[in-house]
């Protein structure tokens, strides 16, 4: 019996609670709260080193403050942009947006509705902040007033006995369009995340690549797509030409030949796109051909080495039993007893090679292209010096949806905020023996500025500046 009585009460209570919850979830107050929280969390992500974005800094920080980092890791603050808290906020944001939009549909419909019921008395009607009357000069055809309003992009109902005009009538639709575009951005973003393959690959001049997974760099580990496949491509690097003026990289020209032999020019800002994949230029290196010979000139060993030595980095390679440490100077000079580079231009490329074996240094020498160095009865020759490039490879779907979202958002925001609604009511009547145009007007967003606009509008139409 108690249960029977309690159930309807609980149902009523639940229903009431649910209604209150939905009301709050669909409120703009909640929107503001969510946006503020998202902004705050984004800002926290700028100060707390992010594991996925700043690996080196994060690892160093973890070494210095293991306790703090462990705590922040637990709270998800070191992977903040994909943490459960931010995903929850995004979920609530889109839920709130959907509910707000759903609620606004009837309002938008009523606001864009266009009927004779909107023609009311410009003097007594409420809700219009601007009221004025303008004397009509003799000879002004009353119908010309309506025509003039239409020429000024007002849609007009009625006649001079009483009319209603609206400019940018459909502006409230732009509100829906702008906010709906967020769902397109969300959809595009989700599709791109789940279909995303990311990897890095180093390719030297003359190298062929046929999309093999094992060819990708192992650090960082390639990110495999949850849905879809890795890039199916086949191309070879024909040439690599960096362009540097003094210390500024002004361009890089990488020529790629695809499986059909078609040449594609790749550079900074111009990736190679194929199979929904982009090969984005990231990094330049030098891939010299070093050959080790003995004292008789017999070739012992040789190879092209992809050395990561541009911009002052140091790299090593092995030939025979020796370890060679390479420093690269793109525009070499020996100044004040030190090896240096005049500029970053590749005008006089030289390697300064240090030879070691079992921890013992044998020699150090500057080796230009086609040059050589001698040590311990051996000779190291540099016979060629092509470049290599590191590509950031990304394959993802959904970008067109995402870009459509951006485009629609831009159109929506321009439409809604620049082409806002102005409504006017008017009638031609006699006032104190003078034929006058009595008007009322209102505008979205603005009151004082709209008044200036209405005055200018009606003064222009009536051809008078003597406002009563």
């Amino acid at each position: 019996m108690i249960i029977r009585l309690a159930h309807p009460l609980l149902n009523i209570l639940d229903c009431h609670m649910l209604k209150k919850l939905i009301k709050y979830l669909s409120s703009l107050r909640f929107t503001i709260l969510l946006i503020s929280l998202l902004g705050l969390i984004f800002a926290i992500g700028l100060w707390v080193p992010q594991k996925n974005l700043l690996k080196t800094i994060y690892i160093e920080w973890q070494k210095n403050s293991p306790g703090l980092v462990a705590l922040l890791d637990t709270l998800g603050l070191t992977t903040i942009y994909s943490s459960p808290i931010i995903l929850t906020l995004w979920l609530l944001f889109f839920l709130n947006l959907a509910l707000v939009l759903w609620q606004r549909v009837p309002l938008v419909k009523s606001r864009i509705a266009f009927s004779d019921a909107k023609i009311t008395d410009p003097i007594t009607t409420g809700g219009y902040s601007f009221h004025s009357s303008f004397p009509l000069p003799a000879g002004l055809d009353e119908e010309k007033i309506i025509g003039a309003l239409r020429n000024r992009r007002y849609t007009v109902l009625g006649n001079t006995a009483g009319f209603y005009g609206v400019k940018n009538r459909l502006a409230p639709i732009a509100f829906m369009i702008f906010h709906l575009s967020f769902f397109l951005v969300l959809l595009g973003g989700v599709v791109s995340v789940y279909t995303e393959f990311i990897g890095f690959i180093d390719l030297a001049q003359g190298e062929l690549f046929q999309g093999e997974l094992y060819r990708y760099n192992t650090m960082p580990i390639p990110k495999m797509p949850a849905i879809g496949s890795i890039p199916k491509v086949s191309f070879s690097i024909q040439s690599i030409e960096p362009q540097v003026v003094r210390n500024t990289v002004t361009g890089i020209n990488v020529k790629i030949a695809d499986a059909e032999g078609k040449i594609h020019e790749v550079g900074i800002n111009t990736p190679y796109d194929s199979d929904h994949s982009s090969f984005v230029f990231k990094h330049l290196g030098v891939a010299p051909l070093f050959v080790l010979t003995d004292s008789s000139g017999k070739e012992l060993q040789g190879a092209y080495f992809k050395l990561d030595v541009v911009k002052g980095r140091q790299d090593t390679f092995r030939l025979g039993d020796f370890i060679f440490t390479a420093d690269f100077f793109s525009n070499y000079e020996f100044k004040d007893g030190a090896h240096t580079s005049k500029t970053m231009e590749f005008a006089n490329p030289v390697f300064v090679i240090t030879v070691e074996k079992d921890g013992r240094k044998f020699a150090e020498a500057a080796v230009p292209k086609n040059g050589s160095m001698e040590f311990a009865g051996y000779r190291l020759e540099m016979r060629d010096m092509p470049f290599w490039v590191r590509f950031y490879v990304v394959r993802q779907r959904g970008l067109s949806i995402l870009y459509a979202g951006f485009l629609i958002a831009t159109i929506g925001v321009i439409w809604r905020l620049l082409f806002y609604r102005r409504e006017i009511l008017g009638a031609v009547r006699d006032e104190n023996g003078q034929r006058c145009l009595i008007v009322a007007g209102r505008s979205e967003y603005y009151k004082s500025l709209a008044e200036d606009e209405f005055v200018a509008l009606f003064e222009g139409i009536t051809g008078t500046s003597d406002k009563k």
Partner: protein, 278 residues
């Protein structure tokens, strides 16, 4: 810096400094008559700044696009251009320069201490998206600065009008109602250009870095700034935040834009953004 660029850059700074002092004099000594003369002075400073840009263009072969110095030079130019434009359209708004000129003066001073060396156009900047992204960034910065200036004038004028004898220096400005709507209008214009800037930046980033959004510090901060102005618009339109509240919002929100342009790289040195030309 090119020879003539240095000279005219410094001339512009000196003129803006005098103009700033002139506005302070006008308000403190309640003398509104000097405002039109100071506007003329700001016009001269703007001319000098334009010559400095032309001289730099002549030396490098491209407009100033990157680095804090070039951002101060060109971004400041847009702010002053916007100020002069609105003052030319409506004489009552000439005094907005009282807010924007000191801001530009600080920007130019900061820029001068940064990296003014002449450099050729970096490869990362050679794209049509640069023009859309950067121009709209500057335009939005200019519009938000005008909103801030209108906010400052609103608060000062409101305070003055509350006194027994109002300061006549504020008589030249539009009424409080109009100033309130102008703040909103500038915020709206800035928000539109900001939206275009972020959209264009995302498309450019896809080609340049391979990812349309990478939570780069400048990207993130520009999103925060966009959200702050989005909230401002909602608060005004839906919750009816007007006058004093809106003025304070416009002033406070500009700090997010300044951090985005100049501050992020001071705090976080990991941005790939064009300010660093990497």
């Amino acid at each position: 810096m090119a020879y003539w660029e240095t000279i005219f850059y410094l001339v512009a700074m000196v003129i803006y400094a005098f103009a700033g002092c002139g506005y302070i004099y006008s308000f403190v000594f309640k003398n509104p008559r000097v405002v039109s003369k100071i506007t003329l002075l700001v016009g001269c400073g703007f001319l000098a700044q334009t010559i400095a840009i032309v001289a730099r263009f002549n030396a490098t072969g491209h407009l100033p696009w990157s680095g804090h110095y070039e951002y101060a030079l060109m971004g400041g130019w847009f702010i002053i251009a916007g100020t002069i434009f609105v003052g030319w359209q409506n004489k009552q708004l000439q005094g907005l320069a009282a807010g924007t000129v000191p801001l530009v003066l600080v920007m130019l001073g900061y820029g001068y201490m940064q990296n003014p060396a002449l450099t050729p156009m970096a490869a990362s900047l050679k794209t049509v998206w640069l023009y859309i992204h950067v121009y709209f960034a500057w335009i939005s910065f200019g519009a938000y600065s005008l909103a801030m200036a209108a906010g400052v004038i609103f608060l000062l004028k409101q305070k003055s009008e509350a006194q027994v004898v109002p300061n006549p220096a504020y008589d030249r400005f539009p009424s409080l109602g109009r100033l309130d709507e102008l703040i909103f209008r500038y915020v709206v214009f800035g928000f539109i250009t900001d939206t275009i800037m972020i959209s264009a930046g995302a498309i450019w980033a896809k080609d340049l870095w391979g990812s349309y959004w990478a939570w780069d510090p400048v990207e993130t901060w520009s999103l925060i700034s966009w959200l702050i102005y989005g909230i401002t618009i909602h608060l005004r339109v839906t919750f009816g935040w007007r006058e004093k509240k809106l003025a304070w919002l416009a002033i406070a929100a500009l700090s997010s834009v300044i951090i985005c342009f100049f501050g992020v790289n001071l705090v976080v040195n990991t941005s790939l953004h064009v300010f660093q030309v990497r």
